[in-house]
Symmetry: C2
Subunit: 232 residues, 2 copies
């Protein structure tokens, strides 16, 4: 029990984490309410609230009005990861970034892309480009843009700037979803990335929205050996 006044919310958080780890508050057990903790720890309730919100964000406790706060039974760890602009990611490693536009067309998407974009039989802007790191293939960007939702894209010069970067700079968005998976290299992907067909490649697929409307969807296929990394 710490009774020093002037406690910071980080100190409160650490004390809460200590009690959870020490099983003073075992999984599933309710913990004292904010006012009580504030009294015990000698700080304001707002400070306890700040600390507990942080612990709840990490998934270690569950909070509900009236029901109080409980230690999570199955602590689902939550972690953050970053989605940088590809050029910045490459340059951040001290490598030179280059980009080559491989394909630009107006076309009607099929299959998954069509389902994700929800644009039916309307033609979209389809761009395929290769990102290079120090001259070596890094990732293949296969993108569809709804020019109805992003009119400026029709006039953009995607031979000089990648759609990835142009969109980040020019098109504010509100949300979207991301999926990560592994896929074998298709023959064209293998040729572009300089690997063998069937090689295991790391794939991310993103669709970004504004006002609930899909703006663009992209499939990024990374050259063999790519790793996405983060910390808990």
């Amino acid at each position: 029990m710490t009774l020093e006044p002037g406690m910071t919310w980080q100190a409160v958080r650490d004390e809460v984490l200590r009690r959870i780890r020490a099983r003073e508050w075992p999984p599933g057990a309710p913990i004292p309410h904010e006012a009580e903790l504030a009294r015990d720890l000698g700080c304001a309730r707002a400070t306890v609230n700040r600390a507990l919100r942080d612990v709840a964000d990490a998934g270690l406790i569950e909070r509900r009005r009236r029901a109080g706060t409980r230690v999570a039974l199955h602590p689902v760890r939550r972690a953050k990861f970053e989605i940088p602009v590809i050029r910045m990611e490459i340059e951040g490693r001290g490598l030179a970034h280059d980009y080559r536009l491989v394909l630009r067309e107006e076309a009607v998407p099929t299959g998954e892309v069509r389902a994700r974009m929800e644009t039916g039989a309307r033609p979209l802007l389809h761009l395929v480009g290769l990102h290079l790191a120090d001259g070596r293939p890094h990732a293949l960007e296969d993108r569809w843009i709804d020019t109805g939702a992003v009119p400026d894209a029709a006039a953009a010069d995607f031979t000089r700037i990648s759609p990835n970067e142009w969109l980040v700079l020019n098109v504010p968005f509100e949300g979207g979803d991301i999926a990560f998976s592994a896929a074998p290299a298709s023959p064209p992907e293998a040729e572009a990335l300089g690997c063998a067909p069937g090689d295991a490649l790391f794939v991310t697929e993103r669709t970004t929205l504004r006002g609930g409307r899909p703006l663009t969807t992209v499939r990024l296929v990374f050259a063999p050996g790519y790793r996405m990394h983060t910390t808990i």
Copy 2:
């Protein structure tokens, strides 16, 4: 300009996001300091602080004492993802989870595992197990545990509970790192997962620490078709 009193921090955040998206505050530009925003928006500075902290967490603005707050030039989006216990993830999809221990040994790790665990030539507990969803292979868990750091693991019955779940329930940890990648199925992986050798598989590698000391490292290889999903 909104001048209603009693503004919530979410409303302040939304107004800030609107100004950024509308280029009222263009990329790289400084935004007014908290006190000024609080006056303009008719709320307390703490409310503005809460809102700006949220926007900064998302990567859209950069805050520094004395230097003030600026709109990020290259908005690195930050997203969260969840790392559930494998059993919970499977059961959450309405499938039955099963687990089979494939290998249990005391052995000295080599290569990457040895480097990650920092245990030198000391033998560790090595466990390999298969997670099944509705009887079909879901993921292969290849784990090393430092029994010096986690003594209880030596006596645990990993034929009934997976190391994944046992560790979550019994071993509090403080941090770690995670990597995601794609890899071809090795012959033993292919046999365990019921796919062909060389098939592209989604792989996650985690090392968890307590007090800066590695407790366990695990390589999870998922059956073909697995997708990790999250939203921005």
